[in-house]
């Protein structure tokens, strides 16, 4: 076991969370709606971080868990120690993406997020058809929801032309300045 004190320190620096505060009551997992789907439920994530084991940290960066966390905040609201698990998840996601360790099976989720951000980057707002197109292009799920779109359009729910805001330069600037 490679003990990696540094990465935990870094985590604390970024999130302000001291992972040692967790005493493993499991309430977060009990309330987590996606715990069933996760490879490591939230309380186990906390314990893996507590071990400071580098290998376990790598497993987390590679996990489905971090991409399945939906940031619903159930865990932190019920955590007796008020540990900000959603913040930890944010941190791990960012680190995972930054280090190109995104879990294979979770790439759909990340693809969706990226498509979403692309839409904002170029128009300032979410262009839903563009989003779905972008997502499909990234995932090759070309036939998904083919029935939904026409119906949405018929209900007046999908504008076909993207709405561009005036400050797109400003938006692009934001994307450039915050690029990891």
């Amino acid at each position: 076991m490679i003990n990696n004190q540094k990465s935990i320190h870094e985590l604390q620096l970024h999130t302000g969370v001291n992972v040692n505060r967790c005493y493993q009551c499991g309430k977060c997992t009990a309330g987590c709606q996606l715990a069933d789907e996760m490879d490591f439920p939230p309380s186990m994530v906390m314990h893996m971080l507590q071990t400071k084991d580098e290998e376990l940290l790598q497993q987390l960066l590679n996990s489905k868990t971090i991409w399945l966390c939906i940031s619903c905040q159930n865990c932190i609201e019920r955590c007796p120690m008020s540990i900000d698990i959603p913040h930890i998840m944010d941190y791990l996601r960012e680190k995972s993406a930054g280090e190109h360790k995104i879990n294979r099976q979770s790439r759909d989720i990340v693809a969706f997020h990226r498509a979403f951000l692309d839409s904002i980057k170029y128009t300032g707002r979410l262009y839903e058809i563009g989003l779905v197109a972008g997502y499909k292009a990234r995932t090759f799920h070309l036939t998904q929801d083919v029935v939904l779109a026409p119906k949405m359009y018929a209900k007046g729910k999908l504008p076909l032309v993207p709405e561009m805001i005036k400050g797109t330069r400003n938006i692009k600037g934001i994307f450039r300045k915050t690029a990891p």
């Binding site: 709606q33 996606l34 789907e37 991409w67 399945l68 939906i70 940031s71 619903c72 905040q73 159930n74 932190i76 609201e77 944010d90 996601r93 960012e94 993406a97 759909d108 989720i109 990340v110 693809a111 969706f112 997020h113 990226r114 979403f116 951000l117 839409s119 904002i120 300032g124 707002r125 979410l126 262009y127 839903e128 989003l131 779905v132 997502y135 998904q144 929801d145 939904l148 119906k151 949405m152 209900k155 007046g156 729910k157 999908l158 504008p159 709405e163 805001i165 005036k166 400050g167 400003n170 938006i171 600037g173 934001i174 994307f175 300045k177 915050t178 990891p180």
Partner: protein
Amino acid sequence: MSEQIINSPCGVKGTIGFYPGCSLKGSSSEYAQSVLAVAKAFDIELQEIQDWNCCGSTAAHNLNKELALSLSARILALSEKQGLTEVVVPCAACYNRLTVTQHELNNDAALKQRVCDIIDMPIKGNLQILNVMQMIDKYVADRLEEKVTTPFGHKVACYYGCLLVRPHNILQFDRLEDPQSMDILMKRSGAEPIEWGFKTECCGAGFSVSRTDVVAKLSGNIVKDAADRGAEAIIVACPMCQSNLDMRRPQINEYLKQKIDIPVIYITQAIGLAVGLSPKEVGLQKHFVPAQFA
């Protein structure tokens, strides 16, 4: 139970800003329509924030914290620039992002400075950000009952979702578990809100497209509990919740192995109907699961 539902700060009534967010311009246009219709019915003047952008939603928040803060911050800055002191944000996700962003910036001067540099605009950070419940409570609640012409006489399950009430310490909206604000407003509109177990459980939110299976399961549990307890409609205040519970109904029914046809409508649609607006005026025809109330 306290009837004063929200500890809303008293402000001077004036023009209120309106941040629709992307969903309300697209897939949830009926929400925008009903919010504006109800506002009009109560003489509340809403002013759309000029040149607003997307708040970044879960995507930005998941991938890049600074980007997420900056996108939301731009909206705050624009509102301030427009001279607004209050902004109504009907979408629960946008409401959550904007409120949390303002809170985080106000609590970290260095971060605030960095973000202001990124968006190239100053931020004071004293905007009142209201969700629709807060807007109604602040400007309509005391007039609501007298305005009701056709009481919304149905059993309803008020579904708040996760983002509307969390994180509690930042949003300071309603109570932590088993929130009441929507229930109280619905009661005043003539409905009969039911006690149920899934008020704040997550619907699957942003996984609508990428993990439809998860949405079917999470939303399925919600729809089932509401239906089991005899609700005739699920009332929501979030476009994501609405679209997951409504548009994903085929997948939900498939997961539940049961056909449930309980409609999912926005609180502003229900209130609109109660104060005498027509179904069309509140965009009721736009839902996938037919919503017809006699």
